[in-house]
Subunit: 97 residues, 4 copies
């Protein structure tokens, strides 16, 4: 993502609030795919085309802006997410309902 932006001189636009709004835009597109699907069959419908490919694209867009935002903020997202998951595992031990 960093190389992709630098090669295109796009990094000047990448202040955190702008990237965050772009992320919100992509989450909105993801929501539009699922909004009127019945809750019980949404996963099954999303397993078939054309919804499957469209969902994969929108999920990717959200991920790419999330990575870009982490990069703009100087945060290592993989390290941070692993720490968060470990913390969640400590706070909610399994097998205790």
């Amino acid at each position: 993502m960093r190389q992709f932006s630098a090669e295109r001189d796009w990094s000047g636009f990448h202040d955190p609030k702008s990237v965050l709004l772009a992320l919100v835009g992509e989450v909105g597109e993801l929501a539009e795919l699922f909004q009127w699907l019945p809750a019980g069959t949404a996963a099954k419908l999303a397993a078939s085309e054309p919804l499957r490919s469209r969902a994969a694209e929108e999920l990717s867009d959200v991920l790419l802006y999330l990575i870009l935002l982490a990069d703009v903020l100087g945060i290592d997202l993989a390290v941070a997410a692993n720490a968060k998951l470990s913390e969640a595992a400590r706070r909610y031990p399994p097998g205790r309902d």
Copy 2:
């Protein structure tokens, strides 16, 4: 909104989570209009066409789904918002910085 939905037999889709996702979709479209505008000139740019009309449409879409969600939940949105604003006025009195 209620009449509009009823006349079209759309109310069957209107469970709260679906309407909420539709609201998220419209907020995403609103975000897309503003994401790359410079913060300092966004208001000025939005005062001119074509951004002005597009912003008005997206703000309206958010409002209409918000009203629909309130209706699905049986909440009088005007009463609730006035109560919230009165409460905020009490909690943050003016003139005390």
Copy 3:
């Protein structure tokens, strides 16, 4: 809202992108109320306390930031929403489904 902001000297913060992110924050709080409720019973659960009052508050917060954003942009939200609803009524005439 305008008087409320002016009395507290808050209007300096109110550029469109900031208000839009505040709106996103409130939509997030609304989503958190409903996220794990079963789709089929969410409306019924939201008709009872304590969810009813909390939903009314979050809906109000979304509305108040939406009105503030419209005001910052110089858009008359009631006029715009009525125009949008009329246009939708033309595009999707009832009883033809």
Copy 4:
């Protein structure tokens, strides 16, 4: 994430629309961190504590729900995002402004 959810019997809640609303909730918390920061200094402020750690946590929460949603939908998010980035590189070649 899959193991974490399975060990706690949480997967019953994980229909796509519910996970998507949880993702929206986390994006909202991320927005709340940045909403009133000046656009020009937001990145610098986010490089210092306490904002740095809070931003890392909220970015992680968004990522974890995004991964969970991809898993619920049976989508390999890394494969999908790489495909999307390659496609964007083709559509927007560098150095042509």
